[in-house]
């Protein structure tokens, strides 16, 4: 039985441009996320199909995808946590450490031939242990404007290089709590993209630190420069070679900050508290229970199947009865066969009596009277 048929209840979580997300319960009270795409919108079936076969650390686990009520859906394990969008800005060392985990997950996905295509703060969740989990793969369009690589707007498919740009923009958001590219329209974003340079980015962050928006020293911020230079380049060729190279840059930056020591453990602990707070806050909100049209599908499907098989058995019984009737109780021979027999009998009888009945003497007698009037 399909997982979607076993769902029993749903609570509304979030509505986006392409889909709505529900927290749903299946058998044994297991909780899942149900992403139900808007009518006419779907996901990249190739990517989702590959993901369904994988269970990688740091990547959400897709359990099922398909169509219900004429709309595409994906069911995945419900991740209890908070989106990174709600946790930014976050401590620099923790941001770099988490980014390494994200990069590690993306490397494993790359080996399976999968690129994300829509890396942004809402698509990286942090679970209760403050471990990042990548979500929302299989986007068909270019992704969120502020985080997408420029080549994605020309219709290019997601790639390792495009994901690298998005990771740079994500890191910037994690560190600063603001988007790198300002503006709301495509034109504004494109204009900002044209002015991008690692120097500008560094200076911008320093300005923010000076303004008290971030608790970072210029020295701390300087460790990030190689990352901006290697990631936030409009041209894919100017970016770092691959995710492995990015991981090396992240490792170097972390080491400059003092390594993954006690400092980081404290930051992680703080994040965990923040995440718990967000979870509690969300839990305190009465989640809106919704009655999805297919929720009782499981039960009705069973009934329908039972009814269908019953009707099928009945139909077969009727057919068998009719067949038996035709074989044993029906007509023995057809009217055509009787007609053929009758005609054979007629012909035999005609041939035997022909000289007497058709020709002579009868017909001759008839024809004696048949002579034309004018000859009479």
């Amino acid at each position: 039985m399909a997982l979607v048929d076993s769902l029993t209840s749903a609570s509304f979580l979030h509505r986006g441009g392409e889909a709505s997300i529900y927290k749903v319960q299946g058998e044994s009270s297991r909780t899942y996320s149900f992403k139900w795409y808007n009518r006419g919108v779907s996901f990249d079936k190739g990517t989702i199909g590959k993901l369904q076969k994988l269970n990688l650390p740091g990547v959400y686990r897709i359990l099922e995808s398909g169509m219900v009520e004429g709309r595409s859906y994906i069911i995945y394990d419900f991740v209890e946590g908070a989106p990174s969008a709600e946790l930014s800005p976050m401590p620099l060392a923790f941001a770099l450490h988490s980014m390494r985990k994200v990069v590690s997950a993306l490397q494993a996905l790359q080996r399976a031939g999968i690129s994300h295509g829509d890396i942004n703060p809402s698509n990286v969740f942090f679970d209760r242990s403050a471990v990042p989990v990548l979500m929302d793969f299989g986007i068909v369009g270019p992704g969120v404007l502020h985080f997408s690589a420029p080549e994605r707007f020309t219709g290019t498919a997601p790639s390792e290089k495009s994901d690298l740009f998005s990771l740079g923009a994500l890191l910037y958001f994690w560190v600063s709590g603001e988007t790198l590219l300002k503006g709301e329209t495509f034109e504004e974003i494109r204009e900002g993209m044209g002015k991008l340079s690692s120097e500008r980015i560094g200076l911008g962050l320093m300005d923010m630190a000076e303004a008290g928006k971030m608790a970072l020293s210029p020295e701390d911020l300087s460790v990030l420069d190689p990352l901006w230079k290697g990631l936030l380049q409009p041209s894919p060729e100017s970016r770092v070679e691959d995710l492995e190279e990015l991981d090396e840059l992240l490792e170097i930056a972390l080491e400059k900050l003092g390594g993954e020591g006690v400092h980081l453990a404290r930051q992680q602990e703080q994040l965990c508290k923040s995440i718990s707070g967000i979870i509690e806050k969300n839990g305190a909100k009465a989640l809106e229970n919704v009655d999805l049209p297919f929720l009782k599908r499981g039960k009705t499907s069973k009934t329908r199947k039972k009814g269908f098989y019953l009707a099928l058995v009945l139909f077969i019984l009727i057919l068998v009865t009719l067949a038996l009737f035709m074989v044993f109780g029906g007509k023995g021979t057809s009217v055509d066969e009787t007609g053929a027999l009758l005609m054979q009998k007629t012909r035999d009888s005609q041939l035997q009596s022909a000289p007497d009945s058709v020709n002579m003497p009868d017909m001759e007698g008839v024809l004696e009277r048949l002579k034309p009037e004018e000859s009479e």
């Binding site: 009934t303 329908r304 009814g307 269908f308 019953l310 009707a311 099928l312 009945l314 139909f315 009727i318 057919l319 009865t321 009719l322 009737f325 035709m326 029906g330 007509k331 023995g332 021979t333 057809s334 009217v335 055509d336 009787t338 007609g339 027999l341 009758l342 005609m343 007629t346 009888s349 005609q350 041939l351 022909a354 000289p355 007497d356 058709v358 020709n359 002579m360 017909m363 008839v366 024809l367 009277r369 048949l370 002579k371 034309p372 009037e373 000859s375």
Partner: protein, 232 residues
């Protein structure tokens, strides 16, 4: 889904019952026809046609029943014209629902008998259209060819009559009537050798034919006397 399946099943059941009833009538009619219970056959086939006038089997069964009744009467030398008219009328209706080769022989024979019966009732009746239709339906109905040739012969269209007889003998060398009639035609023309040739050819095909034996013997005697008298 369940509702639809059940409706389908009920529909199939109803159709099955209807078919079974209809098949029951036709089956009973057919059995009656085969054992010579023609009145009962007519009754059953008629009842099936009351249910569905387009039923081909029922219509064919009814036409065959009328045919059998008329042919029975034919053997008894009774008045058959209304019976053949009724039979042909039924075949005409049948033709509207089935014009396949299966019914052609019976329809063609009915027309032959109707033509013959019409002539028996009125020797001046024009039955050639009936015979032409009969031949068109079954080009192997040499009884219709034979009767048409006899009519031509009596209308003085001798060559056309001869052509038909020759055509018939060529197509079916076992059709004795054509030998008899062609020989007769030559005999009437005074062509005794040709008459003898044809009759003796026929006799080779069917040595049991009383007519051919008789006429061949008559022709032989005639030829002998012609030789004896020096006419040949």
């Amino acid at each position: 889904m369940v509702g639809k399946s059940l409706v389908l099943a009920t529909l199939a059941l109803s159709m099955g019952v209807l078919c079974a009833c209809r098949d029951g009538l036709i089956s009973r009619g057919n059995d009656a026809l085969r054992i010579g219970d023609y009145d009962r056959a007519v009754k059953n086939f008629s009842a099936a046609l009351d249910d569905n006038p387009l039923d081909r089997d029922a219509r064919y069964g009814l036409a065959l029943s009328y045919y059998a009744i008329a042919e029975d009467k034919e053997k008894l030398k009774g008045a058959t014209l209304p019976l053949w008219e009724r039979t042909v009328a039924e075949f005409r209706i049948l033709w509207n629902v089935d014009s396949t080769s299966k019914i052609r022989a019976a329809y063609s024979n009915s027309l032959f008998y109707l033509a013959k019966s019409t002539l028996g009732n009125n020797s001046r009746a024009n039955v050639l259209p009936l015979l032409d239709r009969s031949i068109a339906l079954d080009s192997a109905n040499y009884f219709s060819f034979n009767l048409k040739a006899l009519i031509f012969e009596n209308l003085g269209r001798i060559d056309e009559a001869k052509n038909i007889y020759v055509y018939t003998i060529t197509r079916d060398s076992s059709f004795v009537s054509a030998y008899v009639n062609l020989g007769n035609l030559y005999w009437r023309e005074g062509d005794v050798p040709s008459a003898w040739d044809i009759w003796s050819m026929g006799l080779k095909q069917d040595s049991t034919s009383r007519s051919l034996r008789y006429w061949t013997a008559v022709a032989e005697d005639s030829l002998k006397s012609m030789i004896d008298s020096g006419k040949l």
